[in-house]
């Protein structure tokens, strides 16, 4: 019985199926909000699903000199990594499906897999635009990885646990400590735009420069899976941010679920505002911004936390 319940949790709720539905709705909300900010009407609610279904029915073209197996495997690996990461984030109530001490590190590592997959996809396509895009993807990863890890580990340092569910529980008991994390939260919001390759950090897929970047040669169902992976990544990242930086729960599972939905909606809207209100940052500016602005702030934040933490411990 336990096993059946776990399988249902992993496959349906709050696992794979919920993730897919949430990802599509998130894409819709993101696009619609952006459209309204840009004085457009925007797509109807079923557009993300329609896009995926259309792509699934399309012919798949694989470049002649691409590694066939790798080319086919990358989208699935990318999606699988994102879906696995989602299992360790609490959605229903305060406990995730899979939780253990140190799962936050596992989530962060699983979240780098889509980026690496994107790099390999572009590299494997043997196309100038795709290689250019994959180089930028990798460069961008080196830029955001350090500040992102630093700010996401900040809440863990205070809570003294490296489990997302544990952090959530700790802060729900001591809600005032979340205030210390506000600078880290702001940096995390900005940097997650880079992680998700959304404007203003969308240089790796800049359409007007490198024609869409690493996924130029992808088509049909492989492109559909890649897009699903990207949408799901958005959900996973905002869920993680919600769990770490907005840890307000009541203890009643269904109210917590509604709270969770409200939190991720708010975060998606904030990300949509960031997306709509800025020009695309150049690669060198991105590197400079991450290493000279965000990383020092994150480092200072961590030092402050360590001192405060010492104070609490005493």
């Amino acid at each position: 019985m336990e096993t059946v319940l776990s399988i249902i949790k992993i496959l349906f709720f709050p696992g794979l199926l919920f993730l897919l539905v949430a990802a599509m709705l998130a894409e819709y909300i993101d696009r619609k909000a952006c459209a309204h900010m840009q004085n457009r009407i925007g797509p109807p609610w079923y557009q993300p699903l329609a896009d995926v279904l259309k792509l699934l029915g399309k012919k798949t073209i694989i470049p002649k000199n691409a590694g066939k197996a790798l080319f086919r495997a990358l989208p699935s690996v990318s999606f699988a990594a994102v879906a696995t990461a989602f299992l360790s984030i609490p959605v229903w109530g305060s406990h995730a499906v899979v939780e253990f001490e140190g799962d936050i590190v596992v989530i962060l590592y699983l979240l780098t897999i889509p980026t690496v997959c994107l790099f390999l996809a572009g590299w494997d396509s043997h196309d100038v635009y795709a290689s250019m895009g994959s180089f930028r993807t990798l460069t961008q990863m080196f830029a955001y990885e350090v500040p992102l890890f630093m700010v996401l580990l900040t809440p863990a340092l205070i809570a003294g646990t490296w489990s997302v569910s544990g952090i959530l529980l700790y802060y729900s008991e001591n809600p005032l400590y979340t205030l210390i994390n506000i600078p880290a939260f702001i940096i995390a919001l900005i940097i997650s735009q880079g992680k998700l390759e959304r404007p203003p950090f969308d240089a790796p897929e800049a359409e007007t420069e490198i024609v869409g970047g690493a996924l130029v040669e992808y088509s049909g169902r492989y492109l559909a899976i890649f897009r699903m992976a990207a949408d799901s990544e958005l959900i996973v990242v905002v869920s993680l941010l919600a769990a770490l930086f907005l840890p307000f729960i009541t203890g009643i599972a269904w109210i917590d679920f509604i709270l969770y939905i409200v939190k991720i909606l708010a975060l998606i809207l904030i990300l949509a505002v960031l997306k709509a209100s800025m020009a695309r940052i150049r690669m060198d500016q991105m590197l400079h911004f991450c290493w000279w602005v965000l990383t020092p702030i994150a480092a200072v934040e961590i030092i402050v936390i360590l001192i405060v933490n010492g104070g609490i411990a005493l």
Binding site: M278, A279, M283
Partner: protein
């Protein structure tokens, strides 16, 4: 990254609105070498003008450019009017001035949107094109068409502006001024926008003179080359234009110049609508134009537009030469691209507001090494032979004979 990776931009590329080819050789992310190939869009319009009458040519000249259609037809009409010794009515000149400034507004708004899109700032793109739509609606109301207004004719204009249209123009200007002031503020304050535009595509004052750049490119480097000021014509002999220059000499400077020019255009339109005299809107033009040749300059939105016309006493011109502003700005392009980032290439190209189809001309280079020159007849014969091999016989198609 491998040394000397060459990336093609064009002939088909999302950042290009018309076909043109740039071969960009990169060193890392920095452009080491840029090779520009024009010539995908040659339409033979100068040749076509020689075999049609002056009135028919008006139709072709209006379609040289999809954006600055008024500037081209204005320059052409002035050429013919000067040769025929016609004195256009003052009211006609005012109407030409109003339409010309409206055209500048819609062209600059279009450019601002395209520039926003090139640097990934789609919100700016959507906003400016929404505002541009209001100018296009005005132009459609005046001329019956959104981009080819057909307002100019030899000897004056074809449509008059009545009270209602004048009032509507003033109303739209009030709304637009507010928006354009907002864009000016945006260009001053939005950090990512400035970061992407400042310091790239530099063409200094000396370079502008060396490469002969015109329009906002020259004005952004501090050179006042606005024909409306340096050589006033038509309505601008009565209404003074406040020129806009900037000393950034880069893409940011060009943006600032264009935004300020829009504000100036709004001022001019208000003034012209207010001071427009009564009277006829055109004079009768002769069919045959006396022998002579003339060069006329008109300030198009993209810069100085030069038209040359040679007549031979018949009802068809002997030679028409159109030098669109983009043609002058191409020469500095290589210089502007090299040494900057690959990510800046689309916006640097866009910053001269290029118009490829207006620019493409066949140029014959003469050398002493005995190059073969193909004349019109033998070119036609070669074409016929080529198609005969494919089983098509085009030899029955009648060739339009020149007027001479």
């Amino acid at each position: 990254m491998s040394e000397g990776l060459t990336i093609p931009i064009g002939p088909q590329h999302p950042s290009l609105k018309e076909p043109v080819s740039f071969l960009i050789t990169l060193d890392g992310e920095v452009v080491k070498k840029a090779v520009i190939e024009l010539g995908y869009n040659h339409r033979g319009l100068e040749k076509a003008c020689e075999s049609r009458t002056y009135i028919q040519d008006l139709y072709i000249i209006e379609r040289v450019c999809g954006i600055c259609s008024h500037a081209h037809s204005y320059a052409y009409c002035r050429c013919v009017e000067e040769l025929a010794g016609l004195q256009t009515p003052r009211r006609a000149e005012y109407i030409r001035g109003i339409v010309g400034e409206l055209e500048r507004l819609h062209s600059h708004l279009l450019w601002l949107g395209v520039a926003g899109h090139e640097i990934g700032f789609d919100t700016l793109f959507m906003y400016t094109w929404r505002d541009r739509e209001r100018v296009l609606d005005l132009l459609a109301e005046i001329g019956g068409n959104r981009v080819n207004y057909g307002i100019n004719t030899i000897g004056g204009v074809r449509r008059d502006l009545d009270e209602n249209i004048c009032q509507h123009i003033l109303d739209v200007m009030d709304g637009l001024e507010e928006q354009i002031k907002y864009y000016a503020e945006l260009a001053n304050t939005e950090a990512t926008l400035i970061a992407r535009l400042a310091g790239i595509g530099i063409l200094t004052r000396d370079d502008v003179i060396k490469y002969g750049a015109v329009g906002p490119v020259a004005r952004a480097a501090g050179i006042m080359d606005d024909v409306r000021i340096v050589e006033p014509y038509g309505v601008f002999t009565e209404i003074k234009v406040n020129g806009v220059t900037d000393d950034h000499a880069d893409v940011y400077g060009r943006t600032v110049v264009r935004i300020k020019e829009m504000l100036e255009s709004i001022r001019l339109i208000r003034l012209m609508v207010k001071e427009m005299p009564d009277g006829p809107i055109s004079v009768r033009a002769p069919r045959r134009i006396p022998t002579g040749e003339i060069i006329i300059r008109v300030e198009a939105p993209r810069g100085e537009d030069v038209h040359y016309l040679r007549s031979n006493g018949t009802d068809k011109p002997d030679r028409v030469r159109v030098r669109a502003p983009s043609e002058a700005n191409w020469h500095g392009m290589k210089h502007m691209l090299e040494g900057f980032h690959f990510a800046d290439v689309p916006i640097i190209i866009a910053a001269i507001d290029p118009c490829y189809s207006c620019t493409d001309r066949a140029i014959m280079l003469r050398s002493d090494k005995g190059d073969t020159v193909t004349d019109w007849e033998s070119l036609r014969r070669t074409g016929i032979e080529r198609y005969k091999k494919m089983g098509i016989d085009p030899s029955k198609i009648r060739m339009r004979t020149s007027g001479v």
